[in-house]
């Protein structure tokens, strides 16, 4: 298989370990005087956006940051709980850059680029250094050194964390760096602004059309380069662990302006979320993967067992992860754990009222910790109750905030009965196709963080999203953007009365007019929920050709229905959240179709993409490396028309193998 001529990944020559160092040292530079006249637009203010904007402004570029929330600090990176990976080997357990690289490639089911992933592993350590220097309060040991914990898919402790709020602390670190630049006048902050389209001139990205969400006015902004740091598209499923505002609009608009979309079907379903409780549900809440360190996952051995969890004796419980994967046990990667839960529930062993949940049980480890504490305290023959009380305190210290959150939502006390959990949409590995410089197929248009497709292959390991967002923003884009901008130093700022800007704004205005003119009967949420149901049922944890084919037709019908029956109340020139949602859902519908087409095209199972037709006798994902070891990059060719381009994935340093966690 050869890569499409339209895709040049620009991976540097040389041996893997030296590629990045050598490239970084030879990439073109922009001198400080020229940086001052080069303008960069950053859309999104999460880990990738804030870190990129701050770093580029520090270097001297003129930066404008856009976010739809009221403050950059609210971007959804804030909600990441568990931690951030880095190959520091502080625990002396044999970790290394290579091991992190290897785990990530394997965890991604051999569908990521070697060079990108190795670069990610190389800079991972710098991220921790940078964050600590900013004052991020990571968890520490009594000696004052940094603390680590384990995460799924690895056998070393390389995850740095700040209680269950690591994402928050990392984002606040990046946000503080960003606000410092805002205060110095190097960054112009445009909060409560949403990007409505990319403006291209002579094939290059030259700016954006934005809508001021407070006044409703459309604005034109010029930039020599545009960075999309707009996160993932998990909300295409309506219910996900994403924030309500997370959307694909920026990436989708870029796609329609020529940026190829990479691997759209790769979605991550997180195994430990609080199950759906009713049709009113607006979002799903994650229970951190770190809980799998101490929680054991099980279902009753008997189908449709109506007894309470406590009344089911040990020998009648099926600890199915420990049974199927003894080496990794409850800490198998997310895709494996999620599918295993679905398999048990589909087979009729699910628990709770909906029967769509499994138990995550802390009892055994509570007793184990209690015994250790009792020994520490020199208690002889303590009663079971004493041991349990001591163990409960240990669990409370480790996971107290998560247990409280669980109780808040379900009204059940997880200290007294096991948690009920079920998989939920969490992250999207797919995204805009980018080359080694993080540039999309539109020159001058970049995609960073979850918005791009690049580093996680078909499945992301826990605590790697934060790593990638910050790697892209702090340590990759500041260098790689020079390759493009060094050629742009002669380009003067283009006035926004240029016809390309005028035309782009007119198109946005036309769409707004159209949305208001429909005056239908159904709310935007109605369509979003309908789309979510199609996607979850037919393009969710397990997919098959029949379902995907049906889904494509259903989505096309839904699209027609949307554009004839949606009701958008209010007016344009005001704070109008329904109008915002309408734009986003319209784009999600189009994306949903492409996701199904991508999933239908990929006749194999890998990572988060599980095609029921392609599995081993044991029910594991069955890859087809001969035919599908490629990145599917889709080009937009008009309504419901996408052309597939392939980027061949070459594995020169890692031997392709069936993933084995048993």
């Amino acid at each position: 298989m050869a890569s499409s001529s339209k895709l040049n990944a620009k991976i540097p020559e040389g041996i893997l370990e030296n590629k990045w160092t050598k490239y970084r040292s030879t990439v073109h530079l922009v001198n400080p005087a020229n940086k001052r006249s080069l303008e960069i637009i950053v859309v999104g203010s999460g880990l990738a956006g804030s870190s990129a904007a701050a770093s580029l402004a520090e270097m001297g570029y003129k930066v404008k940051v856009f976010c739809f929330q009221d403050s950059p600090r609210r971007a959804h990176s804030i909600a990441a709980q568990g931690g951030v990976n880095a190959a520091k080997n502080y625990q002396n357990d044999g970790d290394s850059v290579y091991r992190l690289f290897y785990d990530t490639i394997k965890g991604g089911d051999y569908r990521a680029r070697e060079a990108n992933v190795h670069r990610l592993a190389e800079v991972s350590g710098n991220i921790i250094d940078q964050c600590v220097a900013q004052g991020v309060p990571f968890a520490r040991e009594y000696g004052g050194t940094l603390s680590n914990r384990s995460f799924g898919g690895t056998q070393v402790q390389r995850t740095f964390y700040a209680a269950g709020q690591t994402g928050q602390q990392l984002l606040l670190g990046a946000y503080s760096a960003l606000q410092r630049q805002v205060g110095m006048g190097a960054v112009t902050l445009m909060a409560r602004h949403e990007m409505m389209d990319v403006v291209t001139i002579d094939g290059k990205a030259r700016g954006i059309i934005a809508r001021d969400l407070v006044t409703g006015k459309l604005q034109r902004h010029f930039g020599h380069a545009v960075l999309l740091c707009t996160g993932g598209y998990g909300n295409v499923f309506y219910l996900s662990t994403n924030a309500m505002g997370c959307n694909v609009t920026a990436a989708w608009k870029a796609h329609k302006k020529g940026a190829f979309f990479g691997n759209p079907c790769y979605t991550q379903i997180h195994p430990t979320c609080i199950p759906v409780s009713g049709d009113h549900q607006s979002k799903l809440t994650l229970m951190s993967e770190s809980l799998r360190n101490d929680g054991r996952i099980w279902v009753p051995k008997q189908k449709d067992d109506k007894r309470k969890a406590k009344d089911i004796p040990e020998e009648e419980r099926d600890y199915y992860l420990e049974r199927r994967y003894p080496a990794f046990g409850n800490l198998v990667p997310r895709d494996v754990a999620s599918r295993a839960a679905k398999e048990r529930c589909d087979a009729g062993y699910g628990v709770g009222a909906s029967k769509m949940a499994v138990y995550l049980d802390f009892e055994a480890n509570m007793m184990r910790y209690g015994q250790i504490e009792a020994n520490k305290k020199n208690l002889h023959n303590p009663t079971k109750e004493t041991i349990r009380a001591l163990g409960k305190d240990v669990v409370k210290e480790k996971y107290g905030n998560l247990f409280d959150m669980y109780k808040q939502i379900t009204d059940e006390d997880p200290y007294e009965m096991p948690m009920r959990i079920y998989p939920a949409v969490h992250y999207t590995m797919g995204g805009l196709w980018v080359d080694y410089n993080l540039m999309t197929t539109v020159p001058g248009l970049y995609a960073l963080g979850e918005a791009n497709f690049s580093d996680h292959g078909a499945n992301r390991l826990g605590a790697s999203a934060l790593m990638q967002g910050l790697a892209d923003g702090y340590f990759v884009i500041p260098y790689t953007i020079g390759e493009y901008l060094s050629e742009e130093i002669r380009t003067k700022a283009i006035p926004t009365d240029n016809e390309a800007f005028v035309k782009a704004e007119a198109e946005v205005q036309e769409r707004i007019n159209k949305l208001f003119s429909i005056k239908g009967t159904k709310s935007v949420d109605y369509f979003h929920k309908a789309l979510g149901r199609i996607m979850w049922e037919k393009c969710g944890m397990a997919r098959n050709a029949k379902g995907l084919t049906e889904a494509i037709t259903e989505i096309q019908q839904l699209k027609k229905d949307f554009w004839s029956n949606v009701r958008v109340p209010g007016e344009q020139h005001e704070f109008n959240t329904e109008l915002e949602k309408a734009h986003r859902v319209a784009d999600f519908i189009e994306l949903g179709e492409l996701m199904c087409k991508d999933a239908l095209n990929r006749n194999e199972s890998c990572g988060g993409h599980f095609r029921e037709e392609y599995q081993t006798a044991e029910g594991e994902a069955l890859r087809d490396d001969d035919n599908f070891a490629y990145v599917a990059a889709w080009e937009y060719k008009g309504e419901s028309n996408f052309e597939l381009h392939k980027e061949e994935l070459k594995f020169e340093n890692i031997k392709l193998a069936q993933r084995n966690y048993a």
Binding site: A79, A133, G144, A162, S176, S282, T521, T577
Partner: protein, 255 residues
């Protein structure tokens, strides 16, 4: 579409934009399930308003898991409602009774002008952060993370302060609309850590100056902020900032 069997009356502040006067409007919330979150109850009401051709109620929200700090409702006289230690999005309807009347208002402060209905402009917080809520370290300047050893207790105390989500409930709760808890949380976090000590004097002076310019009121130590903070940020932080400010004012080596 019915979800549950609770029926409630909502008295909600409606205001078109910051330049117009607002007033209360009354809405019926029917068929509410006790398992809904407070915001999901609003979703249901809005859905009904839209389908009957009326304008929905505007409110801020995003993550709906209590961490982004976007949601901001003043419910029955308390920011984030009747339960301690949570945000509005984590409040569930089982905290209310069938037949209750619930009064919902926006955060009220001169420094938080209303944008529409229940959504307010909290950019004053961002400007305070820009004035000094950071460590001046450019990307690439950091040395190995374990070269800075920090006593666990200091790291833990700094973390507790850093847990602030910037929602503004402290300002909303305070009878004086003071932002001391928010500002002191950041001042404390960074003054407790060796990384932040270098510029701690400038930081506290500049952040307090910006806070005063934004039009927040003065702290009278009622403790309402701490009691209403969804992340339980401690009043100790305010005392620490007072200390830091006093020290910086009198010992700073600048004219």
């Amino acid at each position: 579409m019915s979800h549950g069997n609770m029926n409630l009356t909502l008295k909600v502040w409606k205001q078109k934009n910051k330049d117009t006067k607002g007033r209360f409007e009354t809405y019926d919330a029917k068929g509410i399930s006790p398992d809904m979150s407070f915001l999901e109850m609003f979703d249901v009401v809005n859905e009904q308003l839209i389908s009957s051709g009326k304008e929905p109620i505007a409110f801020d929200h995003d993550c709906r898991e209590g961490i982004c700090g976007m949601c901001s409702m003043y419910i029955n006289g308390r920011p984030h409602g009747p339960k301690d230690g949570i945000t509005t999005c984590q409040l569930h309807m089982r905290s209310f009774k069938n037949g209750d009347t619930i009064v919902v208002e926006p955060w009220r402060s001169a420094a938080f002008p209303v944008i529409k209905d229940l959504a307010v402009d909290r950019s004053s917080f961002d400007r305070i952060m820009s004035a000094g809520g950071f460590v001046s370290v450019n990307t690439g300047n950091a040395k190995d993370a374990n070269n800075i050893l920090i006593p666990k207790d200091d790291a833990d105390t700094a973390f507790d302060a850093a847990a602030c989500i910037g929602c503004g409930a402290c300002v909303a709760a305070c009878k004086n609309s003071s932002a001391m808890l928010f500002v002191s949380a950041k001042v404390s976090q960074l003054s407790l850590l060796p990384q932040g000590k270098i510029e701690k004097q400038d930081r506290v002076l500049n952040m307090v100056k910006q806070m005063d310019e934004e039009g927040f009121g003065n702290c009278t130590n009622t403790g309402a902020c701490e009691a209403e903070c969804p992340k339980s940020i401690s009043l100790e932080n305010i005392a620490r900032m007072n200390r830091e400010y006093l020290g910086a004012s009198f010992t700073q080596n600048k004219a």
